[in-house]
């Protein structure tokens, strides 16, 4: 157990420089977004008011107030989120391959540590998952600050204030990364964990059987996807499930798939992987 925690810590420290840069990019870009986009929104509003000779009140009735949604939809705001997402998805692969193909073959050291291969597998999964959650937590922390900055920058007459939960519901990307209820949060990130475990297992296939393993890995991903979506696919075939049945089945299949993937991945790492 201690070694597992040490490994998680070790993996996090290894990624910390890139991770910190991601946080910094997000912070700078989003705050810059708030300031720049607010300014241009206000300029646009003033131009329209001048052109159409509208009072602030008339502007509001015609065009609606200025709300945070405009900011949340801007590239400066969404861009760093997308960048972080891409970086971490990429890191799902990199976290394994860098040990094999890095300048030094660290995988030798990793696999001859007096710890179970399952711990090694889980430590990599845990560290990625923790870093994903860390980014989400960071967004949750800076979002109210950005909202406050926005609210203070827009004159009250033009402002249409939004609460944090409304902002996250209204924006498609924010609602994806910060689900509106805790249950939905567990489900979304549960699915995320499942997908990661399936990808890890596909990587283990490749590391064990090389070219043949790529095919096996792809096949495994395909089978997993079909299995997970089987209840939905059955509905196309005109068999109908009640929503709670559908949910129950997908939950069960999801848990089984995740368990199976972790077991299979760790088994391959223990018995089939070649260094």
């Amino acid at each position: 157990m201690m070694r597992y925690i040490k490994l998680v810590n070790f993996e996090i420290n290894r990624f910390s420089k890139i991770y910190l840069s991601l946080l910094l990019i997000t912070l700078v870009s989003q705050f810059a977004g708030v300031i720049i986009v607010t300014k241009s929104l206000l300029n646009d509003a003033r131009d329209i008011m001048k052109e159409e000779r509208l009072s602030e009140a008339a502007y509001i009735t015609n065009y609606g107030g200025i709300d945070f949604n405009h900011i949340a939809n801007s590239l400066l705001f969404v861009g760093p989120i997308a960048l972080s997402a891409v970086a971490l998805i990429f890191y799902i692969f990199l976290i394994w391959y860098r040990d094999w193909f890095g300048k030094n073959t660290f995988i030798y050291r990793l696999l001859i540590l007096p710890t179970s291969r399952l711990s090694i597998y889980l430590s990599k999964a845990t560290s990625i998952f923790l870093m994903v959650l860390g980014l989400i937590a960071f967004q949750i922390i800076i979002l109210p600050m950005e909202n406050a900055l926005f609210n203070s920058n827009v004159p009250e007459a033009l402002l249409s204030e939004m609460s944090i939960s409304t902002i996250t519901i209204a924006n498609p990307i924010l609602s994806l990364i910060i689900p509106s209820t805790f249950t939905q949060f567990l489900i979304s990130y549960g699915i995320g964990l499942m997908i990661m475990s399936i990808l890890f297992t596909a990587i283990m296939f490749e590391r064990s059987f090389r070219i043949k393993g790529i095919i096996m890995g792809l096949l495994y991903c395909g089978i997993a996807a079909v299995l997970f979506l089987a209840p939905v696919l059955m509905e196309i075939g005109n068999f109908y499930f009640y929503p709670n049945e559908l949910f129950g089945m997908m939950l069960a299949i999801g848990i089984i798939l995740t368990g199976l993937s972790v077991w299979l991945g760790a088994w391959l790492l223990k018995n089939r992987v070649t260094v």
Partner: protein, 403 residues
């Protein structure tokens, strides 16, 4: 310890930030205003079967669905994930699912269902469009004999489907063991002419055959002319019903807008038993009444506003005569919209505090429950909020359902 700093910080931030966020989300639902009806008159027991579906809004920046059931407000966010997953469901379908779970699979359109003491019938048109743009359609037919839960389900080709562009099931009846499916159809056309039809299909369940395809109404027109078929709101869509009304409204589309000017209209009645289609003669049951009325299989109810009061007129469907005409004890206001429901021999009348344009007046919603025949007020009340500073919230009422 210093080596673990990074991980410890990430772990702490994750737990604190995400934890706090969701604790706040959970508690914010309970901080939302709770709406209840304050009884002004009558017994609040009358509120028990009343379900009001609404949304709480705040200038477009906030949107939260809620239900006031038996005088208790529940927000969607207070419900469990599974309850929200199933969604808001008609209580009739809810009951049928409870009683006949296997039969009711995939059947969620209330107007496609028919229920009497012995049978539960279902008819739906399953249609899809091929790449060439043609429609391929099949009837989904289901019949359940309640006594021994014997289920018959099958699909049959929709007759003459090549000439149909769009089909909508409006009523399903079981008459002499045959399923009757009343549909409204848009006919395929490759020129400017448009044709709308009302078809009645008779389906023999025992032999799995479409016995007949009867065209009740067929209207062809070209733009800017317009024809619409309308039926009164069915307040008991699954109940046995021997008669339906169809109003045929012909009009002209305005060039600049889409508002149609009524040119000519007629009201038709069809009797499933006698298979007679008749034009309803001008009389107390006028076209306007039927268009905006509510039918429950036996009676047709209409709401009228007359000299500052709302009136409820009741017509007997088979004789098409006025059987009662009562006044409701509630002030009529042109500015306000009403929602009405008819059930249990009562009229449920909700003035929703919203004007015709859907703008809010911040007035409380008023609910009146009265006996249909006598017009006697059984209950009267208006919404109150349990919080003082909830003025900026607007209650948008979507529908009124009676258990």
């Amino acid at each position: 310890m210093k080596r673990y700093l990074c991980s410890i910080i990430i772990g702490m931030v994750v737990i604190l930030s995400i934890g706090t966020y969701y604790v706040k989300v959970a508690s914010s639902a309970s901080s939302l205003p709770k709406y209840t009806f304050k009884t002004l008159e009558g017994s609040d027991k009358e509120l028990d079967p009343v379900i009001i579906n609404a949304t709480l809004q705040n200038g477009g920046a906030f949107y939260e669905p809620l239900t006031i059931e038996s005088n208790t407000t529940t927000y969607a966010s207070e419900r469990s994930y599974l309850e929200n997953l199933t969604g808001r469901q008609d209580h009739l379908i809810e009951r049928l699912v409870k009683e006949h779970r296997s039969f009711m699979r995939g059947k969620d359109s209330i107007s496609s269902l028919y229920e009497d003491d012995d049978f539960l019938a279902y008819a739906w048109v399953n249609s899809e469009y091929t790449k060439s743009g043609n429609m391929e359609a099949k009837f989904d037919i289901g019949l359940l004999e309640k006594k021994d839960e014997e289920e018959t389900s099958f699909q049959i080709e929709l007759p003459n489907q090549e000439r149909i562009m769009n089909i909508d099931v409006r009523d399903v009846q079981l008459v002499h063991s045959k399923i009757q499916v009343l549909t409204m159809i848009d006919v395929n056309s490759n020129n400017e002419k448009q044709t709308k039809e009302v078809h009645l299909y008779t389906i023999d369940v025992a032999n799995k055959k479409v016995l007949s395809d009867k065209t009740l109404v067929s209207e062809t027109f070209t733009d800017p002319n317009q024809v619409d078929f309308e039926m009164p709101i069915d307040v008991a869509p699954s109940q046995p019903n021997s008669m339906v009304f169809i109003s045929v409204n012909k009009g002209v589309n305005h060039e600049d807008g889409f508002k149609e000017k009524l040119k000519e209209s007629k009201l038709l009645s069809y009797n499933y038993e006698t298979e007679k289609l008749e034009t309803v003669k001008k009389g107390p049951l006028s076209l306007d009444v039927a268009r905006s009325g509510y039918a429950d299989g036996k009676n047709l109810y209409a709401v009228e506003m007359k000299s500052g009061k709302y009136r409820i007129k009741t017509f007997d469907l088979s004789s098409q005569t006025l059987t009662s005409d009562t006044e409701l004890d509630i002030a009529a206001n042109k500015e306000e919209q009403y929602t009405a429901a008819f059930k249990n021999g009562r009229v449920y009348f909700l003035l929703n505090g919203m004007n015709q344009e859907g703008l809010f007046t911040y007035q409380p919603a008023k609910l009146l429950i009265a006996d249909i025949k006598t017009g006697k007020t059984l209950y009267k009340g208006e919404t109150v909020i349990n919080k003082k500073n909830s003025k900026s919230f607007e209650l948008y009422i979507e529908d009124l359902e009676i258990k």
